[in-house]
């Protein structure tokens, strides 16, 4: 007989038994041994249909196709750039994947140079974990000015909120331009430094309190107070 041992949204540790019986199937972050399903990560249980998943609470960025990420160019080689996206593997940005027309034999560092930061999209993650990026698409470009902060990648969905509700609220109140990368890197650019500092503080507050109830209201209150006092 199949039975679920833990409840939805419980915190589980590696090796903890999640379910017994063949009715359930192991999803991400869990595995089957014999009849039982065990967790392989520290995270929250998520049951969808027959699948038992564990959503990790910590850990490095795990790239997925379609993710918008923010990365730094770390190497310029023949026909491609290597981009550091904050995971264990370098991401590869091919010359064919940039919007500019680049002549054969041109110096690639004239277009995107070392230490420059780009907003890019993951187009492919191959089996050996190499990541392919593209700069062709809406909003994908090289970043100029502003500042970049880092948060835990697993907290990114909370910072964005439902249909981007949280982040658009922060944008509205702080008058900053904010881009959140799925890899936990966030680019903030405002009219002046004060705005950027304020947006940074708010985003770090969201990260710290990401597990609490009624987060949107708390953040809205903090934003309104800041507007009254500071500006």
């Amino acid at each position: 007989m199949s039975k679920l041992i833990v409840e939805e949204r419980n915190v589980v540790v590696p090796g903890e038994k999640l379910a017994t019986g063949m009715e359930y199937l192991p999803g991400n972050g869990s595995f089957r041994e014999g009849e039982d399903i065990y967790s392989s990560q520290l995270g929250l249980v998520n049951v969808s249909g027959r699948f038992v998943k564990v959503i990790p609470l910590t850990g490095k960025y795990n790239p997925r196709e379609g993710d918008i990420i923010i990365g730094k160019i770390t190497d310029v080689s023949f026909g491609m750039w290597l981009v550091d996206v904050g995971c264990a593997y370098f991401a590869c940005l091919n010359v064919r994947e940039v919007p500019e027309f680049i002549d054969k034999g041109a110096d690639l560092s004239n277009y995107y140079d070392f230490n420059e930061t780009v907003i890019a999209q993951v187009i492919k993650v191959v089996r050996s974990k190499d990541i392919n990026l593209t700069l062709k698409g809406q909003g994908l470009r090289k970043i100029k000015g502003g500042k970049i902060i880092e948060v835990t990648p697993s907290k990114v969905p909370r910072i964005i909120g439902k249909q981007g509700s949280m982040i658009s609220m922060v944008k509205e109140y702080t008058k900053c331009n904010i881009v959140v990368g799925q890899n936990g890197k966030i680019w903030i650019k405002g009219e002046n430094v004060e705005d950027e500092v304020r947006a940074t503080e708010i985003i770090l507050k969201i990260e710290n309190e990401s597990h609490t109830h009624g987060l949107t209201d708390t953040i809205k209150k903090a934003l309104e107070e800041g507007t009254k006092n500071g500006l």
């Binding site: 949204r9 090796g15 850990g59 264990a88 597990h211």
Partner: protein, 236 residues
């Protein structure tokens, strides 16, 4: 002389006081502190990250690198800082004790670095180090098949005891120290060392004792890992 009573008044199958905390090093990907009696170990995990030099990379799985070290102030007589014959050996056995539970094949060509520092020592440091490292690995979000807990058992005089302290290790009639690491679920032995003399029966008895001790340690480890996300239950 018979060893009829333990110096610190514990029962023969009683552990010293255990406490653990996760997330003590901010810049590390995962970290933990594990304290048993007066022995304190802290562990930090970095990675999976790129491995250099490149020839050390394994295209099939990640390389687990452990580094055990004792702080110079951790013992009564100042320990010369830096790696030694002893710490190199302990790093190696720690690595092997943990490698069997970490799912290394998910991160080919990378390294997972584990740094263990003993900041206060009163016997059982390698066991405390393994316990801390297992928690730090879980905290770093690295997939693992199981948790690992370790405890030293042994024979002091003619008695089989668990969790020896320094005084017992140096017992004049002779003491045998057996560090044991066990996985939490299947109780598989991932570390077994022996320094001294025991009969076969005594060894089996000691390992049985270690199983009980490891269970207790494992509960502390789980509690410490869940502690940092406690508020989740009240929240959403």
């Amino acid at each position: 002389m018979v060893y009829s009573k333990r110096e610190d008044g514990r029962k023969f199958d009683e552990l010293r006081k255990i406490s653990a905390k996760v997330g003590i090093i901010k810049r590390a990907d995962g970290s933990a502190r594990f304290q048993i009696g007066d022995t304190i170990a802290i562990a930090a995990v970095y990675g999976p990250r790129e491995l250099h030099p490149k020839f050390l990379q394994d295209p099939e799985k990640a390389v687990l690198r452990c580094n055990y070290d004792m702080a110079s102030f951790s013992v009564t007589e100042r320990k010369k800082p830096g790696p030694s014959r002893r710490s190199t050996e302990i790093s190696l056995v720690t690595e092997k004790a943990l490698a069997s539970v970490v799912e290394l094949d998910l991160f080919p060509n990378t390294a997972i670095d584990v740094f263990i520092q003993i900041i206060q020592a009163n016997a059982g440091t390698r066991c405390a180090g393994i316990c801390a490292a297992a928690m730090a690995l879980a905290h770093a979000g690295i997939p693992m098949k199981d948790m690992v807990a370790a405890i030293s058992v042994g024979k002091v005089g003619d008695k089989i005891v668990i969790d020896l302290d320094k005084e017992e290790e140096d017992f004049e009639e002779g003491a045998t120290d057996i560090p044991v690491a066990l996985t939490a679920r299947n109780k598989e032995v991932t570390l077994l060392q022996l320094d001294g003399e025991v009969s076969k029966d005594e060894l089996m008895q000691a390992i049985k004792l270690a199983r009980k001790g490891c269970e207790e340690i494992h509960n502390v480890q789980i509690e410490a890992l869940k502690e940092i996300y406690k508020e989740d239950k009240n929240g959403q």
